[in-house]
Amino acid sequence: MLERSPKPVVEKPTLHESAALHVTGTATYIDDLPEPRGTLHLAPGLTRIAHGRLVSMDLSAVRAAPGVITVLTAADIPGQNDTSPIGAHDEPLFVTDSITSEGQILFVVAAETRAQARAAVRRAVVETETLDPILDIDTAREARAPCAVPGRTMTRGDAEAAIAAAPRRLSGRIVMGGQEHFYLEGQAALALPGEGPEMIVWSSTQHPTETQAMVAHLLDVPANTITASVRRMGGGFGGKETQANQTACLAALVAHHTRRPARLRLDRDDDMVMTGKRHDFAIDYTVGFDDDGKIHGVDMLLACRCGWSADLSGPVIDRALTHADNAYFYPAVRLRSLPLRTNTVSNTAFRGFGVPQGALAAERVIEEIAFATGLDPNTVRLRNVYENGQLTPYHMTVEDSITAAILTDLARRCGYDTRKAALRASNAKAAEEGRVLRRGIAMTPVKFGISFTATHYNQAGALVHVYTDGSVQINHGGTEMGQGLHTKMMQVAARVFGLPQSDIRLTATTTDKVPNTSATAASSGADLNGMAVLDAATKIRDRIRDFAAERYNADPGTIRFHNSEIHMETGQGTLVESFAAVVRQAYLARVSLSSSGFYKTPEISWDPATGRGHPFYYFAYGAACAEIVIDTLTGEYRIDRVDILHDAGLSLNPEIDRGQIEGGFVQGAGWLTMEELVWDKKGALRTHAPSTYKIPTAFDMPRVFNVALLEDVPNRKATIFRSKAVGEPPFALAACVLFALSDAVASLDDHRTCPRLDAPATPETVLACIERLRAGKSATGHGTKIEVPATDADPVRDPVG
């Protein structure tokens, strides 16, 4: 059974730190900043072919256009024309010769107004040579194109021998699409030149330190002259981990040359065409198993589309590999990756960072075994989940597995067995009566490794000041993108000082307060920065405590910070002084009331060369159950009910965590169902606005949505107040939606055939799958492939706006 702690230490729900600002429209995003005098407005000129060479570029008409102040190209870069975040040197800011994707930057226009800049861009006359593009996974494999980053193999035991020796075996493929972030606030930056080489860049970035470094390299100035700053983002989801750098660099380059402030907010269509997305995967699997549904060995090849540069594809696909087991023990295993370079946008971080893709393949394997053995998929799951002491494919011992308990608990809470029997009966009756609706249900778990696989990223800094009036200001290296990080950090400081949240002020993330920070990513924001804030605040609190002990003759062991007061036991009995009064006295006694804080995650290690190590400090767990109904005439469907049980350790803020779970799940369901990226045959993205790329709306929410946090189960590791990271793991829970759809489709041939439903399971894909099953053909997977003709006469977008 689940481990219970005797006494929960869960914090009370706390108000979002910017709540009052959000509801009054006064929370400031980058594009809302007051414009400094003389601000220039930018627009980028982009490549319109996916593959070829730049022959010539005549920008004279652009320069002559009304309002244009300057037009800059690669030749105007004083430093490096390179925005590769991993030092691969394969990602120039501006194209100089080779064109390897639509939406690469040729030049940037700076004008007095945004409309002038955008109108001027269209006057460029660009000559190119066109080459055949390699656009998708299949073509890249056939062409044996070079990989974007080296492929990797993870092995434990002899998978081939184990599969061959197993009583039964099967092979298949699961294909899953990419995903557009559609952060509601697009990429935006404002660069303000200062004295000499100094510059401040306000950027909607998840990684201010990297933005600072990119700008410094671009301008060939030391990092100490550049400050990158962000108060909050209007959504990030991984899409601003590296993809904010281009926009920030364009603004900085113009500010550098013109000595005027420069502002750029990408047009939404440009944003969707230019910036990287979630990696799409095609995963081939072979599994050896027995009649009891026990897995003997697994062999997988994970091919993915990386796009035109390496970007973060290496770590993303590593995460897909390390999670291709999801929550299941593979007695013998071989996992290989094939990161393919293609002439499409450079795919990047997106909430889950490869985990949802790897885990989906594991769940398909479970589904296949269930169909092959006739067992309920949940039975197969429970027979294969990790037991503590077992090794992952990367040779890390699992020590905190609670998957079996969560699956069992959730199945009981949501009445899985009873409801499944009822659905089967209602489907049978519908078939008898010739009705078209069919229902399906599925449950999937997640086991999500927490920590950056790049070990050096697992560090964080904070800076805390106590002012003489007793007010507290905190700053840390994490960024706020809606996940509630800043609120949690204020809670940490409030708890240390015994102050209400209203006495804590949190200031914008900025590289001149806390330097050398890691990206706010990998769900690690609260884990890392929370400990750094705790460190800084505790140092100051201890100084105040020591001072108070001396000043008031109190026993240091009895001093408590509580309710804006300091409580002390002295020779004369209990003494209570206000926090502000003691702080004032401490200042007069020359006690330092400011401190930095630092944290590095212990115990972790990772060797990318061997694919072995202890890359994760701990795992976060969860399970979800989805019930859906499909219309077998149209392929349309609706999510009727979702139940989630999720492990956030001792949650720092249950309200925020619930929001992360609901939001992550719905975003994951969007990825697997309605969100479909379509490139035409020439490599132009045809889904470059929400008019053609469907994002879940309120109407797409599950009709019933029960979300519960696992209660009183503290993290076994000493994380911040024994909480667990929660940003990404719930995304992967949405796998149950795909398998519930599959369950409904499978009812059409009485659950004899695994439908091998691929993602995104759009209504068209579901309908095609239904027709395959009805025709009695064995399913082949791969869904439907939409062939989109390319058009030369792409409508030119209105430049005014």
Binding site: H22, T24, T28, F699
Partner: protein, 203 residues
Amino acid sequence: MQGSALAAAVAQTGLVQAAPPDPDAARDALTGSFSIVINSAPHQMTVDTRVTLLDLLRERLMLTGTKKGCDHGQCGACTVLVNGRRVLSCLSLAVMHDGDHVTTVEGLAEGHGPDAKLHPMQAAFLEHDGFQCGYCTPGQICSAVGMLDEWRNGAPSLVTDDLSAHPELSPAELHERMSGNICRCSAYPNIAEAILAVSREGA
């Protein structure tokens, strides 16, 4: 990276084929003057006729509470109230609003500063934590205010079964009526709770 065969020798793919006429040539003819009341304050404006109501608010009047999400009328972040009805300000030209009363998120509360009394919808979003990143919030709130007004006046929606009866604000009705406002963080459950709370107060 190496591709396959060279397709065409030299292709003209330019961003435009030829320079367009000077957009400044008929500049005077492209401006329009009109009067408009924004958050109870009257304004006499002269702007380029191509300027949207959204850009007028954000770039001319510094009312940056109204957000630009997609600029295509697809995401709802720019929703404002024009004469009490919800309008996508990115799809609406400013000069079309001569004589109109526009309310943005900044104009919903009564009064200003710390003494301001929040609009019930703002208070409900606060109470029910109806946001994560906050970027869609101004549009969600303005849209919800307009939506409840439509509902109270008996306007049916796509999912209303009985067009002759006053629709009940079921979850399906509410979700359908708010489906023009994307929340990419999917804070929809809390947003819906906030709106339902207000619908019960004022019913």
